[in-house]
Symmetry: C2
Subunit: 386 residues, 2 copies
């Protein structure tokens, strides 16, 4: 008799085992672990082995995991750092975001997709993955140079831009069309999220005092986790995705005095729970539902090309316009190419809602691997003489 708990545990075990196996492989290939998680999902999902065909046992853990990751991204993105990285970084990031969004949107329209699918495609190409960029930069040893600072800063700003773009697009298309009435939830949701950023920092002292008085074990972790989940759930309630709420709650609380132990605790959750979101992203890929036509193959190449070129052109031009010399400006553009963060969340949400099809989804996942392979190669070649 194999009951519910057997299938529940088997699915989680398979997902976690393959995630860690592929993470290990990626680390040995000097790639980001998250690429291993997605690959693990592609392997255990319908694309290759078909061991996990129904994702229902993974979904709750996956969403908890991505909320933890995004909350921590906000929590660690200290507002002071934004000032240090300065306006150059903000503008370089914006250049890439506008170009990528525009190119994605145009490709969508050119291939005859409806308005909301095209907007989503634009949104998918928007974010950069800070994690991959930072590891690329560390490896090259250029984090302390000006170029490095601009890239790092732009990547952090990209997360914010990505969250804003996703929030607007997602809210606009939520009723499967673009009507003025849809601005309602966007405005309400946006206002409440803005309120979080304004109001929560004032409660920093109260939260710190509460942490001291609570008797449950791991009180700081539990309290921050509940607040992060609260932000995420609130944001989902107002018709946005959980992402902006989690990110902004993290940002709003980033002034809280956090001991090293708290970081370690969150890291445990990020290692055990978060990978399952990216495994889920891989499981959701199912290229067998329809044999891709020649036009679809061209579409995939166009999306990947736009994702790469958009960052190089957008960020590069912005950097050049800000007075950074041509060679370094190009380097910045290349360093901004990697994906594998908020972009996957947008793709997963789009696929779940039926707004994007498997072909666009496959393109989004392919872009992650192509950009991760190309970035260090090109960045190394260009930046080593700066």
């Amino acid at each position: 008799m194999q009951t519910t708990e057997f299938f529940v545990l088997l699915d989680i075990l398979l997902a976690l085992f393959f995630a860690k196996l592929m993470e290990e492989a990626m680390l040995r290939l000097k790639q980001a672990p998250v690429l291993g998680d997605i690959l693990a999902g592609i392997i255990v999902g319908p694309t290759v082995l078909g061991l996990i065909t129904s994702s229902e046992n993974i979904v709750p853990i996956a969403w908890l995991g991505i909320v933890i990751l995004i909350f921590m991204a906000g929590f660690e993105a200290d507002i002071k750092e934004f000032r240090r990285y300065g306006s150059k970084a903000a503008l370089v990031g914006l250049g890439g975001v506008i170009t990528c969004f525009g190119m994605g949107y145009l490709i969508g329209l050119m291939w005859g997709f409806p308005q909301h699918t095209s907007l989503f495609l634009g949104a998918i190409l928007t974010p950069t993955s800070v994690g991959v960029t930072v590891s690329t930069l560390s490896e090259l040893g250029i984090i302390h140079k000006e170029t490095g600072y601009v890239i790092l800063g732009a990547a952090v700003f990209d997360d914010i831009y990505g969250v804003i773009v996703l929030t607007i697009i997602y809210s606009l298309i939520s009723e499967e069309g673009l009507t003025l009435s849809n601005y309602g939830p966007l405005i309400v949701g946006g206002s409440i999220l803005a309120l979080i950023v304004v109001v929560m920092p004032r409660f920093t002292h109260h939260i710190e005092r509460l942490i001291v008085h609570i008797r449950i074990s791991e009180a700081p972790l539990i309290l921050l986790l509940l607040l992060g989940m609260g932000g995420a759930t609130l944001s989902a309630y107002f018709g946005l995705t959980p992402i902006p709420g989690a990110f902004l709650m993290g940002l709003a609380l980033s002034g809280i005095h956090s001991p090293e132990a708290l970081r370690t605790d969150f890291e445990v959750l990020e290692r055990v729970i978060t990978p399952l979101f990216f495994v889920l992203a891989g499981i959701l890929l199912n290229p067998w539902v329809a044999t891709p036509s020649e036009a679809e193959m061209t579409l995939i190449l166009a999306i990947i090309g736009a994702g790469l070129a958009g960052k190089v052109l957008g960020c590069g031009s912005a950097a050049r316009a800000l007075g950074i010399q041509a060679r370094n400006a190009l380097g910045i553009g290349i360093a901004m190419m990697p994906r594998a963060g908020v972009d996957i969340v947008i793709a997963v949400v789009g696929l779940s809602l039926g707004i994007i099809n498997q072909t666009i989804y496959l393109s989004a996942l392919s872009l992650i691997y192509v950009s991760s392979l190309l970035t260090p190669l090109l960045a190394k070649a260009l930046l080593k003489h700066t």
Copy 2:
């Protein structure tokens, strides 16, 4: 538009928030946190507020959580400790187990329940909760006296007895009847689990070496977690519950050199994930499905009485027979009364399979609270003069 992820996050947030709120309340009342988790489930579930009516979003996290708890119980129950606590503890534990199982089984038959329900009722009354017992003893400051050692040892043995009883009963009734052919999976499953205990310790050195060579973060935690889940899934595959596999895998690996950091890492998971299992236990309670008749009220009282008296009589007589003086023997029996561990797993499984009804389920949950309130009161009165 409120999509899947909203309801997923809302359910997890509600479960975790109420669990931690009630844990805090229990700690302030000097009760075990697990009582707060179950109470939280009763509050958010159909019994009181009805905020979480479908438990599907909680189930995967809940089972992952209980596997982590049981695996760690095995991992920390060093085989050397069993030798130290000695045969007295083993016999005291056995006395309570036999008496409680017998009383539960007889009550089942007396109330006209079928054979397999009666066996399950016996199994539910069998285990003691080590956690609650230890905290009771610490509070009384008697852990270092002989009486304390016997209680602690007996409680540890009780976990093993509970696992064995559950394994046998669960396997026997798996095809909804007691036939000889059902011994098949029990024998195969039992043999494989026995093999884990015999074979795995030989791989201790290999696992330690593997941990050093793996590059993924938190490698020790991840590797042990995967092995624990592997044991649990294997045991569920052979028609047993995940419990014996998780426990025995933990026991088999308890020789692995584990730094303090590994304990802290597992503790994070036990604080964040494990409570959801006990919340689930509370959610599954639904006393409104049928108004309890007078006969059912008597049944509830009989089960609670048997659960308390079974431990006092069984453990107490065994202790007395082993030459421990009457007063202390009675004290040992009282200290063995608390529940809230493997017994809940048995009750949850029984309810899910339809083997036990809501009345028996309510009795099992009530026993947890009654025993937790009575034990410290009675133990304090009896043991303070020893």
